[in-house]
């Protein structure tokens, strides 16, 4: 996904909480990388993204 298209897409998320925006951005990056895979193993990565974000908010 080009930088420009990603920017346009992320503009749609501007009304959401910054933590939600950060999670969405990273989830999209992971999904993009595994787009070719029929059974992408991205759940572990998504859990990590969410856990990091929760820790960041707690600290």
């Amino acid at each position: 996904m080009s930088k420009e298209r990603r920017r346009r897409l992320m503009e749609f998320f501007e009304k959401y909480d910054p933590a939600v925006q950060r999670v969405v951005k990273r989830v999209i990056e992971w999904e993009q990388r595994y787009l070719d895979s029929k059974r992408p193993r991205v759940k572990e990565e998504i859990r990590e993204v969410i856990e990091e974000e929760v820790k960041r908010n707690d600290s």
């Binding site: 080009s2 925006q21 859990r47």
Partner: protein, 642 residues
Amino acid sequence: MILETLRVKNFRQYYKEQKIAFSAGPKNVTVIRGSTGAGKTNLFSAINWCLYGDDAGLGTQGEIVNKKALAEAIKGSRVDAEVELRFRHTDSDGSEHSYVAVRSTRDDSLRLSRVTKKGLEELPNPILMLNTILPKDVRTYFFFDGEKIDDFAKPEHESQIKDAVYSVLQLEVLERGNAHLNSVADEYERELKKLDTGGVLEGLTKEKEQKADELKNAEEQLGRDRKELNSARDVVDEMDRELGKQRDVQGDAKRREQLENERSRIEDELEALFSTLRDLGSTGYSVLGLELLTKASDAINDKRQRGEIPAGIREQFVRDLLEKAKCICGREISNDGPERQTLLALLNRSMPSTIEDKILETSGLLLALRAKSQQRFEALVNLKKRKAALDDDLSRVTKEADDITAKLEGVAIQQVQILENKRRAAQSRANELFVSVGRSEQQIRDLENEIRDLNHRIQKTEGLEGKAQAVQKKLSLARQAGEAIEEVHERFAQVMRKRIEEETKRIFGMLVWKESQFTKVELTEDYRLVVLDRWGSPARPELSAGERQLLSLSFIIALSRVSEGSAPVVMDTPFGRLDTQPRENICRHIPELVNQVVLLVTGEELHGHTLEILKPKIGKRYFLDWQKSTGCTEIVSTEAQV
């Protein structure tokens, strides 16, 4: 993505190594001309095979390798086909890099490297990288057979159009993201259920507060009882002193005072003895297990004696003796002496040092436990004997004191009777209070134990609830992110659909020669590509094959522009079914609409005025020269002729 060069080696009819450089920039068109069968489609396939392997649909490896090269190969030697594609790409961070993609029939795997100042840096996961450049499903909308693209414009091809929009705009990324976030959220929900304490913490805290109140009351009551007990005892002591002054009963009074002191001492000792018994009681399990400990220890000793487990000598100790050839007593251990044989026999019986360590450790532990249990058992027996002796003493002392009291009550002296009555009342009260104090002390001990236990349970529950809170936060964030993606997915798809519709309409207007006939193009909510005529009626069924091709091309170019993906458009035989006017329109407009165009054409497709229109935009031009004598094709640059 901008294509730079394509190098083919022994690929299909391309014998040995041959190369094409693609044009980009203001002259962004590369024309590769060849007759039917000269190898246009195979060159088109080479790009697809290099990047996507089997998915290019080329068949077996044997069919990929050049037949002339195979025929010429020395028997037993291997010949491989290889394709290398160099391209530039602007990464998601905005930086532009050059890449080299290579695939060979040797291992049929894609090697993708980034060009750096130090040379080529091979990327560890080329497929993942390629997905961020031009995913497999998306490339079919950029690298296509011109004669087969009219599918989009045929009736009832909504699903294909929707697939194209979803693939090129990568809406699937959002769909998958939403699905995976929901799946992760479901996992968090299951974790949360396991951690649910059902409000136990609140109940435990309340119970603890209640017990703490009870403890406070018991302690206050104990303080009051002790104070009153001391007062009652003071009265008894005072009465004893007064009675001691009465000459007629002086002896008995003094004796009773002695007995009371003696009784007090015995009771104190009994109290201390009970306390020791309580402490021993809390470790009673080891006393109860004495028999088992003895059996276990005996079993190990028995096995050791039979040589089934090593003796209490460590393997390392035996090795040290053998190495030093000297016993710890100073005696020499000669090489052929019996001492050395004994030591070697010991060593042969030894087990791995870790097992030996464990056995030695267990034996030591059992011995220590057994000794401690024995000590406790003996202490219990002694305490029991002492208690029996104290009970006897207490009975004797109490009886003698009671006898004296009865005797003094019978003395017919008024003053003595008054003192004795006061003493009896005080003593009676002191006895009651003594019982009450004992009861309160026990109650306080029980309450303290209960509070300690509650604290432990509260601590454990707090840990669980703390974990539950953390999982709840993760669950909430995963759900929020999933919902956000779902909402945005719908809005983003709508906005993009409208933009594709506008672009398709604009481009179709440029390409079609009857632009006044077709006034409107719509991409409906259910992804139907609708063309309306000047009377507002759907005109798609009336479109000719060429017009359908133009509509499809317009849709693809619109997709490319809206997606901002900047992929090149590689068209194989694009003009076969088109008349002069639409051909000219394509040549006039397409180079302006996309970043890079590669046209694989026959001589009949691109000539005369059409070629003249395109010429200012052509940067590179090649001719595919199929040679009858070899059955192979040579790529010939015809730039000089442009």
